[in-house]
């Protein structure tokens, strides 16, 4: 038996013994997930148990080096773990922008002190991070950002405003883009900096969304003092870090459809519209929408797998994550339109026990942001047109 097969067998047995049954059911809302942080609370005992067992194995971040709190798994082992988790429907033990976005950027651009300081705390869910990128006038045109960091000895004094800061009101620290050289050209005067949200001068205000939730905030910085040692990478070269991180963010958003997979769409639809004597959905148009969707979903899964294999073979284009982000988010929106359509009246309930607090319509509304956040679909298409297809124009 190969090492990998042994690893698979052991992993399967470990998951079977350690993943509580409650953690193998599909999530119904973002509140079902554990986000960690200084003020974190577990929503249930099984959630705590599952998180702690996975953390102790380094499997909140299975592919990070062990010295930074990771599991030290190689690519093949990591794939096995993902497959075995998905086979039993195991939830991710920890949801975290630190894991998805900051971690990879720190591993590539951070200095040793920064890695040692921050990565283990991310892995252990001790510090919850938020992302300070967008500003009121710098959304899709991110490089127009105006938040300024003025030099004052060993510190920067940061002043400005961010918007769409996901969960800023729960976050402990922020990774933030600031303008350190106002005279330089748009992309050239930006730095990537980390600081504590408890610092004097930081305040946040939630933004209520159409889903009835407020996952986003406006975030204000009023003369916030931050040591210069908190800059990641080179001063004024923060754009490189930002772009690298955005690739991970896009990959994460394009995978959101998979993470939320619950009952098969065909079954959901059968419950409400019924089936004919041959077992086919009564609503033939809905049936064709679902089957066409499932064709595209399976194709996207193959493309995601191929993207990883191409990267490993050194054949991938760095802008390809934009292609995946575009397709994944548009597909996820389609999935939720179909879910609403399949659910009919049952999918309209907003506040009740039966509807788990309107989980389905709220999730449907939430997906509408997928093609806006992390770069809009239009921006993604522009990137593909210019960087991959080399079409002319600015």
């Amino acid at each position: 038996m190969s090492d990998l097969e042994t690893f698979r067998r052991e992993t399967r047995a470990w998951l079977e013994a350690n993943c509580p049954p409650e953690m193998r059911r599909p999530m119904t809302s973002e509140n079902d997930t554990y986000w960690g942080g200084r003020n974190a609370k577990f929503s249930s005992e099984p959630q705590r148990v599952w998180f702690e067992r996975m953390r102790d194995k380094g499997w909140t971040v299975p592919d990070w080096p062990k010295e930074y709190g990771g599991g030290g798994l190689d690519r093949a082992e990591h794939k096995v773990l993902r497959e075995e988790m998905s086979a039993i429907g195991a939830r991710a033990p920890l949801s975290s922008f630190g894991i998805w976005m900051l971690g990879p950027a720190l591993l590539k651009y951070g200095n040793e002190a920064q890695k040692k300081e921050h990565l283990p705390k991310i892995a252990a869910g001790l510090i919850r991070w938020c992302q300070g990128y967008s500003e009121p006038n710098a959304g899709s045109d991110l490089a127009s950002l105006q938040t300024r960091a003025e030099s004052d000895g060993d510190d920067y004094i940061i002043t400005g405003q961010k918007i769409w800061t996901s969960y800023a009101n729960y976050a402990d620290w922020i990774f933030c883009l600031v303008r350190t050289d106002p005279a330089a050209k748009k992309h050239d005067g930006i730095s990537f900096i980390l600081f504590d949200m408890a610092s004097k001068g930081v305040s946040t205000k939630p933004i209520l969304l159409i889903s009835g939730y407020s996952p986003f905030c406006e975030t204000f910085f009023d003369n916030v003092r931050v040591p210069k040692s908190h800059v990641v990478g080179t001063v004024n070269r923060g754009w490189d870090v930002a772009k690298y991180l955005l690739q991970h963010e896009r990959a994460m958003i394009s995978g959101m459809g998979e993470r939320g997979v619950g009952r098969p769409l065909g079954q959901v639809a059968a419950d409400s519209v019924g089936a004919d004597e041959q077992g086919r959905l009564e609503d033939t148009m809905l049936r064709s929408q679902i089957s066409t969707f499932e064709v595209d979903e399976a194709a996207l899964a193959a493309a995601a797998e191929r993207a990883v294999d191409l990267a490993k073979a050194g054949q991938s284009h760095p802008a390809f994550s934009s292609a995946m982000k575009y397709y994944g988010t548009e597909l996820n929106k389609r999935r939720h339109e179909i879910l609403m359509s399949a659910g009919g009246i049952d999918a309209l309930e907003w506040e009740s026990e039966r509807s788990r607090g309107g989980a389905r319509p709220r999730a449907w509304l939430r997906t509408k942001a997928n093609s806006i956040e992390g770069g809009t679909s239009e921006v993604m298409l522009g990137i593909v047109a210019k960087r991959i297809l080399d079409l002319p124009g600015a």
């Binding site: 065909g266 086919r280 064709s288 064709v295 191929r306 294999d309 292609a323 079409l391």
Partner: protein
């Protein structure tokens, strides 16, 4: 298995591309069409294909072939799709070679497979009878008679039917149209008494025939596989064919798209390169993404056919459905973005549009395969 071509597969692609782009660019198809060539493809080129080992790609080594898999057949089909080269590769090297090596007796294999590998035997698969692909709707009657069977019925859209030396015909030895049971495959000599073959001139200038069978006598030795049990063999052969046609459509889509992007970078209107217009940039980008995702789905299906053959059905349905939709979009956008030029016969783009339409219909269009997927998933 990684979803990328291996080094050997890439080398195969390069050699196929070299030969095909050199000897059979789109102008090759055009001249065959314009001269109303009786054969519809170049026998000389098919000989060159055989010498390169392409015709025996799916033939087992002990019968003179190279015993490679569906991924390799797909690699060659994709190159064929790039120039629309007409050849018996699909009918003979893919479909007939698969049918014989999967279902043939030792005697049948020895008689035919070495000749497929060396390029001397051409074959065709005769399945569909109605306007749309419905293999279970086979109604051609095969009634026991003497030592064998007597065939009566007709087949439509038999690819390469008029040049074939051997026909593989689906007939009904039992059951009624729509049932799985009672299907049987026969090896039929096209020169046998009662076989009437009419070459149909098709929209894409590729070969196809309508064939009628009137009291055609077939010896019991010419049953391929088991009597009444042909559906499973047919499913497998058709799935290989679907994977191959999906690959052709990926090649075709990518070629049309490449030509279109080049045009966007050259053509000026309103004092600008048209590729500067965001409306066109976004459509081009969407099409690129569509093609890349389809390419992954097709490779996934081909690998599934080479790996877990019995469970490859869903992956094949996804691939054929996706490839059909993507190719349709690619040729439509290709013609539209080339403007009036795209509508002219003088320009090659129209050839791709016509071929894409035929590939859609071959072995089930996108709707058929989406429906198959829904049935597999039980809704």
């Amino acid at each position: 298995m990684a979803l990328v071509l291996t080094e050997e597969q890439s080398m195969l692609r390069d050699s196929a591309r070299g030969l095909i782009s050199d000897k059979a660019p789109v102008s090759h198809l055009r001249s065959l069409r314009d001269s109303k060539d009786a054969t519809g493809f170049s026998r000389e080129l098919w000989k060159a294909f055989a010498e390169m080992g392409f015709s025996g790609l799916l033939v087992p080594e002990n019968f003179g072939g190279s015993g490679l898999g569906c991924v390799e057949a797909g690699v060659v089909m994709e190159e064929i799709g790039r120039t629309l080269m007409p050849s018996p590769f699909l009918s003979t090297a893919v479909l007939a070679a698969s049918a014989l090596s999967r279902g043939g007796s030792e005697a049948q294999k020895s008689a035919h497979l070495p000749r497929i590998a060396d390029g001397s035997l051409l074959a065709a698969l005769a399945i569909d009878e109605g306007a749309k692909h419905r293999p279970l709707q086979t109604n051609l009657q095969a009634v026991r008679s003497g030592n064998g069977f007597k065939l009566n019925g007709a087949k439509a859209l038999v690819v390469d039917g008029h040049t074939a030396d051997l026909l593989i015909v689906a007939g009904r030895t039992g059951g009624v149209a729509g049932e799985r049971g009672g299907l049987t495959l026969f090896l039929v000599d096209p020169k046998a008494k009662g076989v009437a073959i009419e070459r149909t001139v098709m929209v894409d200038a590729h070969n196809a025939a309508r064939i009628e069978f009137a009291n055609v006598e077939v010896d019991a030795d010419h049953v391929l596989g088991e009597v009444d049990q042909g559906a499973a063999l047919l499913d497998g052969v058709l799935n290989i064919g679907r994977g191959a046609v999906a690959s052709e459509m990926v090649g075709l889509s990518e070629e049309v798209f490449g030509r279109t992007v080049t045009y966007l970078k050259e053509r000026k209107q309103f004092g600008k390169l048209i590729g500067e217009f965001q409306a066109l940039q976004h459509r081009a980008a969407q099409l690129y993404i569509d093609i890349e995702i389809t390419r992954a789905a097709v490779l996934k299906a081909l690998q599934a056919l080479d790996g877990d053959f019995e469970r490859a059905g869903a992956a094949v349905a996804v691939a054929k459905a996706r490839a059909g939709t993507t190719a349709t979009l690619a040729v439509q956008e290709g013609v539209q973005m080339h403007g009036g030029m795209g509508m002219t016969d003088q320009f090659d783009i129209g050839f791709f549009m016509k071929r894409a339409r035929v590939c859609q219909e071959l072995f089930g269009d996108s709707n058929y395969h989406a429906d198959q997927l829904a049935r597999m998933k039980g809704y």
